[in-house]
Each structure stands twice: as structure tokens, then as C-alpha cells.
Amino acid sequence: MRILILGCGPLTSLLLASPDSAEHRFTVISDDIDRLNGVADEPRVTPLLILEPQMQDYLRMGGIDNADAFLALSEDEHQNILTAQIAKHVFNVGKVVCRLENPQLQRLYSGLDLEMVSPTLDLLQGLNRVLRSQIH
């Protein structure tokens, strides 16, 4: 699959390094040159430095027209929400995933049919499981 990713934080780095990613090709767009340099050596990864992540021209430069999936994984939730909805409704990307940590916004956008991931909530659930197992 051709996958376009917005944001180049630890989550993106982990995803690119995971064995499951071996069969995919990635373009990673970010306004952080240091973080992009950190993934530039990964095979099958094209880094793209941008100034305004929400601008559709930059999404096009990243190949959103031909992307099979778009992952909005930046640390700015509002940017994730806007670009994910642009990917879904303007570029009709088949698979769109939006990183969203705020439970209120998660409720709103799940109602608007946006697929979401939330590393913080996943972590919280994991911690709760560990704590429960310690108590019992």
C-alpha cells in the first residue's frame, strides 16, 4: 500500500520501524526537519518537509491523490482533524485514520464517521489492566 503520514513523532517512527510495515511504501510529511532526518534512512520512506501541513498543495506533493491510506498522526489534534477530513472528503482516500486524544472530540468525530486512534487512551487502558492485575 502507498501510505501518506502527517506528523513525524515517536508514533510514526515506531510504525515505520515495525515489521508489519515492510510491505508498504510511506511518504512522511512534517514541518520538523530534525524528526524527518531521523526516519530518512528507513527503507521505503520518502520524507517531505512542509511549512503548512494543512495546505492541500502539500498533501498533493505528498502523493495524496494516489495514496491508499492517509494517517493523520501529528501531535496537533486540530491539524489531524482537518487533514483527515480533507483526505476523506476531497481526495476520497480509501483508508483514513486520525490520531485524537481528546475524548469529547473523539465522540464528535466518531459520530462523523472518522476512524481514530488514541495512543494515550490505549496506554491508559493498559495501565488500568496492569493495576487491576496487581490488586487481584
Binding site: Q54, M55, Q56, Q79, L82, N102, Q104, L105
Partner: protein, 219 residues
């Protein structure tokens, strides 16, 4: 009318003053305590300190009874979230968003924002108006957002000079709504003869502007 304004930048500040002067009840939701204090000191209890993209803040600021929400922060993405929260959580009947990226205009409409104000377009239009000898001017975007109203001034050497309007082939789905001549305004009948320096006001679908411009100004 109760109006919620999200963001108290310079625009939000002047907007709030103008709305209050028009007799509306206004509440500004602004993150910065300092800006809220300045606003309160000058205009009274019209500021609510908080994040306008947080549901509980909007609720406290009275979003449930707001007739209009105007998202006027400097960030397109923040304005979108504020409008979508107002629309889908509080059923605000009219949401308005300021945007900077012109390409976001259609997507904001698709996503349910009622009115989208494109600040980049407004500034460009204002600049174009002041350029001497301009022959093309975008007057406004019509509500459908995919259609605009433009003004084109016919130069002396244009091929259409001396021709009947009916004989000029226009781009698909476009039409001339008004012709401003040196001696007054004329309704565009088919027999109207186009002359140099006529200002043609036309309705044109987005993307057809250059074709129309070439037809009316080409030699």
C-alpha cells in the same frame, strides 16, 4: 441575536465591537487571560476565558442558546473544529468560519460550515482593486462557492470590440449579468454591441475565469 465569537485576535476584537454596536449580545471565547481582561475592561462582560474547541467551554459560554457562532482564530483547523462542535453538539443554527487557505473553502462547506469567509481572497481582491489599469477583478464568490462574480474590462484591441453579445461564445455555465459602459449601465441583451472600455460583469464557474478573460480580452 446571541453571537459567540471564537478567538480575540485583532479581527475578533473589531468584530465584537461592531456586533455590540449593532445591538447584538456577544460573547468572545479566548484562550488568553490577558486578552480577556483587556476586552472586559473596555467592553464589559463579553469575554469567556477558555478554548473554543473544548465542548465544556462552549457549553459554559452559552453555545446551546447561541444563534450564530463565528470562528475567527487565525487557524483554519481550529475554526473548523469550533464550527463542527457548535453544529453537531449544540445544534447552532448558523456557523461561520474564517479561513486562510483558499482551497479549504469547499471542504468547509462539505463539512457543514454555513458561511466560509476566505481572508486571503478578500485581501487579494482589495489589492487587485488598487492596481492601476486592472482588467480583471473577482468581485465575490456566490453562495454555492463554486461560482463567482467577476469584472472584466475590455481593452481597445480586443477581438470582441464591435461584436454583438449573442455572437460571443462564453464558457459553459457562465453568463454576463451586466455591462457597464462609459455612459451608463446596460442590461445584457443579445443585440448589445461590446465596445472598448466596457466593464463586463459576469457569473462564471470556478476554473473558467481564464477562458472568459481570454475571450473578452484576446486580440
Amino acid at each position: 441575536m446571541y453571537i459567540l465569537v471564537i478567538g480575540c485576535s485583532e479581527l475578533g476584537y473589531h468584530l465584537t465591537k461592531a456586533l455590540l454596536a449593532s445591538g447584538h449580545e456577544v460573547m468572545v471565547v479566548e484562550k488568553s487571560q490577558v486578552r480577556c481582561d483587556i476586552l472586559t475592561e473596555e467592553l464589559g462582560s463579553v469575554a469567556w476565558q477558555g478554548d473554543g474547541t473544548v465542548e465544556s467551554t462552549l457549553k459554559q459560554a452559552g453555545a446551546a442558546r447561541a444563534d450564530v457562532l463565528i470562528a475567527a482564530t487565525g487557524h483554519d483547523e481550529t475554526n473548523l473544529v469550533a464550527c463542527q462542535l457548535a453544529k453537531h453538539v449544540f445544534q447552532t443554527s448558523r456557523t461561520m468560519a474564517m479561513i486562510k487557505d483558499p482551497k479549504n473553502e469547499p471542504v468547509f462547506h462539505i463539512l457543514g460550515v454555513d458561511v466560509v469567509i476566505n481572508s486571503t481572497h478578500l485581501i487579494l481582491e482589495s489589492l487587485e482593486e488598487r492596481i492601476p489599469g486592472r482588467t480583471f477583478l473577482r468581485l465575490m464568490n456566490l453562495r454555492s462557492s463554486s461560482t463567482g462574480l467577476v469584472s472584466i474590462t475590455i481593452p481597445e484591441d480586443a477581438g470582441v470590440v464591435g461584436r454583438r453579445l449573442d455572437d460571443v461564445e462564453l464558457p459553459p455555465r457562465s453568463f454576463i449579468s451586466l455591462v457597464v459602459k462609459t455612459n451608463g449601465v446596460e442590461r445584457p441583451s443579445g443585440d448589445l454591441i461590446l465596445e472598448a472600455e466596457d466593464e463586463v460583469i459576469a457569473v462564471i464557474p470556478s476554473g473558467g475565469e481564464q477562458t472568459l478573460y481570454d475571450i473578452l480580452t484576446g486580440v
